[in-house]
Amino acid sequence: MTQWVRVTAIIDHLLSEAVRRALAAAVGHYYVYPARSAHLEERRGLAGLFSDGMRLNDDPSDVFTLFAPAAEETVLLDLIADHGRLHLAGMGSVFSEPVELAHGYAPLLPGPVRAAVERTRHDFYAQLVGITCVVQRGRADRIAREVLELGASVPTIGFGTGMGLRDRLGLLRVTIPAEKELITLVDSRQDADEVIDHIIRAGRLDLPGQGFIFGYPVRRGLLNTRLSRGQVGQAASIDRIAAAIDRLTGGVAWRSAAGARPEQPARRCRQGTDLTLIAPDERVHDLIGIAMAGGARGATTHPLRLITAEEAPHLYKARTACSLFLEQGQAEPVLAALEQGGAFGEEVQAVAYGRRVERAFTYRGL
């Protein structure tokens, strides 16, 4: 079986047009959805007189997702880094993850990069862990702040919808908000556990109904390290110094505050597979039903748009990405059930990718 990677690029909205154009020339199709990237900002003016802290602010970003053969990984990373100007801190991030399983409607499976791409070779950070956290809408800012103050990395926040227990309540489900926020960040492997623990505490994820978090391996990436924006105009702002040290030490590991390590031991967590199912909006509900019957406990969905290089009217553009956490051994039967249900055929046009989850946590340890 071919090895696939999933490439995720989080690009500042002002720069995303260039990345779109580059991707349209290089790959057959990709997905995109809007989000915001958070950073800390020094309070200036009157506000600065009354509080000494930093203010959480965010910029609109676009999140690009594409799947590619593993051999094309660095080509795509370089391409995106070039066009998104990611060698500058503050523009965005790009990273790649190994993908374990891939099933799907044939025209939407990844193909090779189409033409020779002109690129500069970038130096990527390695030994990374991706962290995704799902919380109720409105709770993400607190977690983003915690992550930024910890000096971990720039969190990206998008909107999502939860499915699961709620749908078993009948009409009473409208009383439970389904709107969620998805926080994504990438950090060095040595810091990941600590960051996850901090998020669990900041988001009170050990209480019922507050959300869940999971970490998965990220192979390489160029990360946005501009965590804060301070007084501009200095010769060397703290961001620049920090960025330079990142480069010297080859990672952001040095940033973690020595005393910030929590006293509690790492929490009891599960391993498993995060199955990402990308399907047309109207089909997702049925597909989640199939997956739930196969053992999935709940799902988080968010809308994304399929962009094709050429006009392709037969491909449905309005899609929903659905993330399902499956215990070890559950993924294959669920995929088989989806296949059985026609998910990957002409009619439904779904694709599914699995990635290994090293650590997942929610109330009662999921």
Partner: protein
């Protein structure tokens, strides 16, 4: 399964969250109105019980209505938008869009609002405007409806072919501005300008806007698209601009059918009767209207100064109730006239013919709660049900779509219906009443106003107690002392209020100007302008359509464009718009002066802004004038306009639509520029001499 107590707890928390959110949205407006009235104008709040009930209804209604939009109407619109381009040919999409636009105009009748705003129009001053709002009111509604229908159809075409909104804005605003200037030069057409620009704002109501927004989001999500800019906005903009153009064109087209403006007495003269009849459609109505609204000179002119002819005509009315009702526009209107304006001889004429006359100054109304509930429920049904059924039918039979959550959508529609009924009722009982109380008395900030509804009567008044004093300009003024509480207060004496025959003195309290006028009228007027600004700001925060737009923008941009920032910018814009509108009314400026420069500035700002920002900013103009703002603006316009004696109070709503676009575009441009500067400051984090290829281990 959930137990009953768990279910109740869930529902309780759910309701509490929604209601408290709306209470927070309405609170600034209510507190502001009450504090301004009590502390600045110094008048207690009348009918406090009714108003408090009304406010509770507004909060509950808004909470239900918003939830209904989010659960029912918006998913319905979005689903149709997703399905329509796939399953229907282009012609069918356009027909659907046109019908949706047309239908929503009829469902949310703005004509009532416009009539209220034009209540003070007199046919001799602005014949064309009178014609448009009375005999041709249907034409007005049709042209606005066709305008909105064409707008929604063009909006769909835009999404399907990925056209930019900017050329539409340039063309439509350009054409409307040219027509506005053209109308400005014509003594009759000049009064249509305000109506036309107001139509743009009021046509897009709290049901239409969310529905059309959701539809746009759906359509633009499925369309093959290379640029992923937050699309789906812009229909509301078109639905605000097309009607402006449609009404201006209608005005120009009907200009030939209206007589030129005339002095009042000349208008009612028998020589002009044919032309006047053309405005009313009935010669009897001209006589009735002259009696109801004309001055003494106009009434005398009705029969060429022949008082006996007038008497004969009145005797004929008294003898024939049907004829009288025709002349006065209904029996109620006739009784009102008898009670308020008829002179004793005229009253005697009707009394002799066996009419039971209403008591002078008798308080009418005091309508029962039921009589208020029924029309509001009917209005809500009319606004929501036909449109929703139309959409259901299209979805089920045309698009053959089966809902996964049909129960949720039905619940949402039910919420929206209940919410809108409660909300309209609450607005009528609470906010409109509160607004009217302040609006009536607002001119007292800069001038002296009479408060006829608070008049008192002193039996056996002794004229010898009246004293004389020196007035401010040297002429003597008369006053008497009256005991109020424990103190003796001087009260100005008005000889007209004293009836020597009965010995009664009718006292009409006067109010204002503030600070006894010591600071001159400028301070008072500045206070009124400030009042208008804050009123616009606070009322906008509570608008449900703006809330829906904010949520949609946040959803489409993944939270990148914050709802709070949008709502604040729009609210400041509406405040500024109301301020300008009051400037227009107080100084009776031609509206063209206030409309043309901001729109020209807007064209420049539009050119400088990105497509995404332009779409969002222009759409926010259409959602500003909703059910909370409109009654307050009317109260404000009628209160100040009535004192200033202006011909028509239109234009305030139009101003409240243009200013938010300016603020949203301005703030958007500022934020973008700041962000660009920040990006430009980013530096490569590389350190010279280090090129560590081995980093990617």
């Amino acid at each position: 399964m959930v137990t009953l107590s768990q279910a109740l707890r869930l529902v309780g928390e759910y309701a509490r969250d929604r209601v408290s959110a709306q209470a927070r949205a309405v609170a600034p407006l209510v507190l502001y109105l009450i504090l301004f009235q009590v502390l600045v104008l110094g008048i207690p709040v009348a009918e406090a019980g009714v108003i408090a009930t009304g406010l509770l209804l507004v909060v509950a209604g808004l909470a239900l209505f918003m939830e209904g939009l989010l659960l029912g109407l918006m998913p319905l619109g979005e689903t149709i938008g997703l399905k329509l381009p796939q399953r229907a040919p282009l012609a069918l999409i356009l027909v659907f869009a046109f019908l949706l636009g047309l239908g929503s105009t009829f469902a949310e009748p703005a004509i009532g609002v416009l009539r209220a705003a034009g209540a003070s129009i007199r046919p001799w001053e602005a014949p064309l405007l009178f014609l448009l709002l009375n005999p041709y009111a249907d034409w007005l509604v049709y042209s606005v409806g066709i305008g909105v229908g064409v707008a929604v159809a063009f909006g769909m075409l835009r999404f399907l072919y990925r056209w930019s909104l900017k050329p539409f804005i340039y063309a439509l605003v350009g054409a409307a501005l040219i027509l506005t200037l053209w109308c400005h030069l014509d003594p009759n057409l000049v009064y249509v300008v305000g109506l036309a620009w107001d139509c743009g704002g009021v046509t897009t109501g709290p049901v239409t806007v969310p529905l059309v927004l959701a539809l746009g989001i759906g359509v633009s999500r499925v369309v093959d698209c290379c640029s992923g800019d937050a699309q789906g906005f812009g229909v509301v903009t078109l639905a605000s601009l097309f009607p402006v153009l449609a009404v201006l064109v209608l005005g120009v087209a009907l200009a030939g059918r209206a007589p030129a403006p005339l002095p009042e007495a000349e208008f009612f003269a028998p020589t002009q009767r044919a032309q006047a009849t053309a405005l009313f459609g009935d010669a009897e109505r001209v006589v009735g209207y002259g009696l109801q609204h004309g001055s003494a000179a106009a009434q005398a002119a009705l029969f060429g100064g022949d008082a006996t002819a007038l008497g004969k005509q009145l005797a004929a009315y008294a003898a024939d109730p049907a004829l009288a009702a025709r002349a006065f526009g209904g029996r109620e209107a006739l009784l009102d006239w008898l009670a308020s304006r008829a002179d004793p001889a005229q009253r005697g004429l009707f009394a002799a013919a066996g009419w039971t006359l209403p008591q002078d100054g008798a308080v009418r109304g005091g309508a029962s709660l039921l009589s208020r509930v029924v029309p509001n429920v009917l209005a809500a049904l009319q606004a929501i049900l036909p449109l929703t059924l139309f959409l259901f039918v299209v979805l089920k039979w045309l698009l053959r779509f089966r809902f996964a959550h049909v129960d949720e959508v039905v619940l949402g529609v039910a919420f929206a219906l209940a919410g809108m009924s409660l909300f309209n009722l609450g607005i009528e009982m609470g906010i409109a009443r509160l607004g009217a109380q302040v609006g009536d008395k607002l001119p007292s900030a800069y001038t002296t106003i009479a408060l006829p509804q608070e008049r008192g009567e002193i039996a056996d008044f002794d004229p010898t107690l009246v004293h004389r004093a020196l007035g401010a300009d040297g002429t003597p003024v008369e006053f008497f002392f009256a005991e109020r509480g424990q103190t003796l207060t001087p009260v100005r004496y008005d000889p007209a209020g004293y009836d020597a025959a009965t010995g009664h003195y009718h006292h009409i309290p006067r109010l204002g100007p503030l600070f006894g006028g010591d600071l001159g009228p400028a301070v008072g007027i500045a206070l009124v302008l400030l009042f208008a600004f804050v009123l616009g700001y606070a009322a906008t925060l509570a608008e449900p359509a703006l809330n829906a737009l904010g949520l949609t923008v946040e959803k489409v941009t993944g939270g990148g464009f914050h709802k709070g920032l949008l709502i604040q910018s729009v609210a400041v814009g509406v405040g500024a718009g109301l301020l300008l509108g009051v400037v227009k009314v107080v100084w009776d400026l031609p509206l063209a002066w206030l409309i043309v420069p901001p729109y020209l500035a807007l064209l420049l700002l539009t050119r400088a802004s990105g497509e995404e920002l332009v779409n969002i900013a222009w759409d926010s103009a259409g959602v500003t004038t909703g059910p909370v703002t409109v009654p307050l603006v009317l109260a404000l316009g009628l209160g100040i306009g009535g004192q200033a004696g202006v011909v028509e109070g239109f234009g305030i709503l139009g101003m409240a639509s243009v200013c938010p676009v300016i603020t949203v575009l301005g703030i958007g441009l500022y934020v973008t520029a700041r962000h660009k500067r920040e990006l430009a400051l980013a530096v490569p984090p590389s350190v010279a001499g280090l090129e560590p290829e081995n980093r990617t281990t």
